[in-house]
Symmetry: C2
Subunit: 243 residues, 2 copies
Amino acid sequence: MRYELYYWPTIQGRGEFIRLALEEAGADYVDVARGPEADGRGMPALMRFLEGAGEVHPPFAPPFLRAGEQVIGQTANILLFLAPRHGLVPDDEPSRLWAHQLQLTIADLVDEVHDSHHPIASSLYYEDQKPEALRRAADLLDQRLPKFLRYFERVAERNPHGDAHLVGGALTYVDLSMFQMIAGLRYAFPRAMARLETVYPRLIALHERVRARSRIAAYLASARRLEFNQQGIFRRYPELDAY
Amino acid sequence: MRYELYYWPTIQGRGEFIRLALEEAGADYVDVARGPEADGRGMPALMRFLEGAGEVHPPFAPPFLRAGEQVIGQTANILLFLAPRHGLVPDDEPSRLWAHQLQLTIADLVDEVHDSHHPIASSLYYEDQKPEALRRAADLLDQRLPKFLRYFERVAERNPHGDAHLVGGALTYVDLSMFQMIAGLRYAFPRAMARLETVYPRLIALHERVRARSRIAAYLASARRLEFNQQGIFRRYPELDAY
């Protein structure tokens, strides 16, 4: 079955957590909004879905995934669906709930990173909420980010199967998501991360191992991997990284 | 099996979505942090878990649930675990993913409501971020809340089993969560809700039906139901409801 991924075509954003899972799985998928409009793809295809009157299970926002007759929204929920089908999570229910719990905690951090440059309203420009962003980003780098990273480092440390993975003894989608989190944080906050990285060696080693996996390395070197930029979740505003 | 729910003992907060599901299910549970310290409960029991070195699956934050040997964190994940065990979601996987997708979207709105009074930092007092809260709350009430409520109203409207429920033809945990959302919004933003409620009649009718269910009504009338207050997610600051 060919999956259809619907996400904004110009950013990594939340969709990147799905792209990484599909790429590692070697799954057959189309990144619909990045395709040509002449083929019924592109932004109009995405907007038809969001605004369409016929959809029984309408998504609130991208990303969403079409898998045959099913349309599934919410990033962590899409991964919950995909992972058992592609060997990206252990088989037993406790492990799957644990993986999902960690993914939801990563999603919480993603939200907080987003709000560090948009603390007032997503609909306003960064420049229209810059004083507030300076305050919020300082709190993120001083309090919240170390708390999250300390937590995930501890999760790796306590993994009974060894600290090479966050869940179980093999790669899961949570490892892929942590790779992306570290990559994004390095892009957005190079100064803060240079300081923090020495404190969380397991997460950094995990990031490096995921990056070196053959399918992930091939994906990162391809045109399918969008560059980080100033429209996504992770943005580089040096003044927010000054703390 | 007796469940142990771990959540802050003085607020409804995110824990209330779990309490409502346990109450509607008639499940055997203990609200651990609200119990007496002499019995090994109370806040020390909660903090032991958060700070304990021994937990293999440490939760990042409350709420979390102990079910036998399992410890499960993240509100929506706990509901994902509980619902099929207590008839609070249909049996088939597509319905369960759809219910979970809606619950995660409710969780997103919960986060945005929280950030309307704490847009800069959870660790700061409201009074220390009031100018920012005024801006963010105005955007919430003007843009974000109508968008979310319009979405959920449409979900009810398009439900092939009728608009009395959000998922399928019988009560699910998502209906319970929507009840709580409407109750909280009415508490926090009585002026805005008086204006908005006429536009979303299905959600209001759903709220009223859930409130009238025998186990929910009994719970709401009991001492187990905490009052809304100024420490939870939903807080009544009249200046934020002035829009």
